[in-house]
Symmetry: C2
Subunit: 146 residues, 2 copies
């Protein structure tokens, strides 16, 4: 199981500490697709939202019990967090597609540092919209920050 | 960029052709996590929905213009589809978590063949819920099937 980057994500963030977990939903960035993959972008303009699948190249190693950014204590099971340091450091961001400009996608909602390798783009569909969700420990965090 | 499986997905589907794109949202399956990763499942029961990130081990190669299952004609840009045959055959399913039983997660909404290697589990959060989405060519398909 080996991966190859299909592009690069450009963002205003130089390092992970620059990324605010809430405010980044308004952050604009650009997704650059390498030339050989550009024909695969056909029809993408019809979608308002896309999944970006990216490789967290700055993550090294992982802890099965981990400290989420938004709540320093207690530790949480890593699979109950979105922390980039994982057994397979594959991360996921839903972005809004603002505009396509040949091999560049201008998007909103970037929580990724500049220079991050892109692995895949997928359309966000109705099936991805879930209602009446429960969000476990994140609910506590939201209540505290309210 | 190398990957290791963290578990296996069990489902009623023996081959990709058995998976119906619409009815599979009601299909139940089981996600088995390998022993060494089980501590990372702590706190997962608090979440109603999870992302399963899986490796499409049956896919080989890809086409940048491809024929979606739900619409045989015309071809579509691969990144505007969820077809498993991709430059990086990493796939994504949002499932409902029904119950955790130690290293087994019982889930609903499986569109994966049995024996598929699991790469990651992530909590589905409020940020993943998007409203007023546009779904491009899929909208045409939905109108035809209505």
């Amino acid at each position: 199981m080996e991966l190859l980057p299909i592009g690069i994500i450009h963002s205003p963030f130089s390092k992970p500490a620059d990324i605010h977990p809430l405010r980044s939903r308004y952050t604009k960035g650009t997704v650059e697709i390498f030339d050989k993959f550009v024909p695969g972008l056909a029809d993408i303009e019809g979608f308002s939202h896309l999944y970006l699948i990216w490789w967290s190249h700055l993550a090294s190693g992982f802890r099965l019990l981990t400290t989420p950014i938004m709540q320093p204590d207690p530790k949480r099971g890593m699979f109950a967090t979105r922390i980039p340091a994982r057994p397979n450091p594959i991360c996921l961001t839903v972005v809004r597609l603002l505009k396509r400009d040949n091999n560049f996608l201008h998007v909103k909602g970037i929580d990724v540092v500049k220079g991050t390798p892109l692995l895949d783009i997928k359309p966000y569909t109705k099936r991805d919209i879930k209602s009446r969700i429960k969000i476990g420990w994140l609910d506590e965090v939201e209540r505290v920050n309210r």
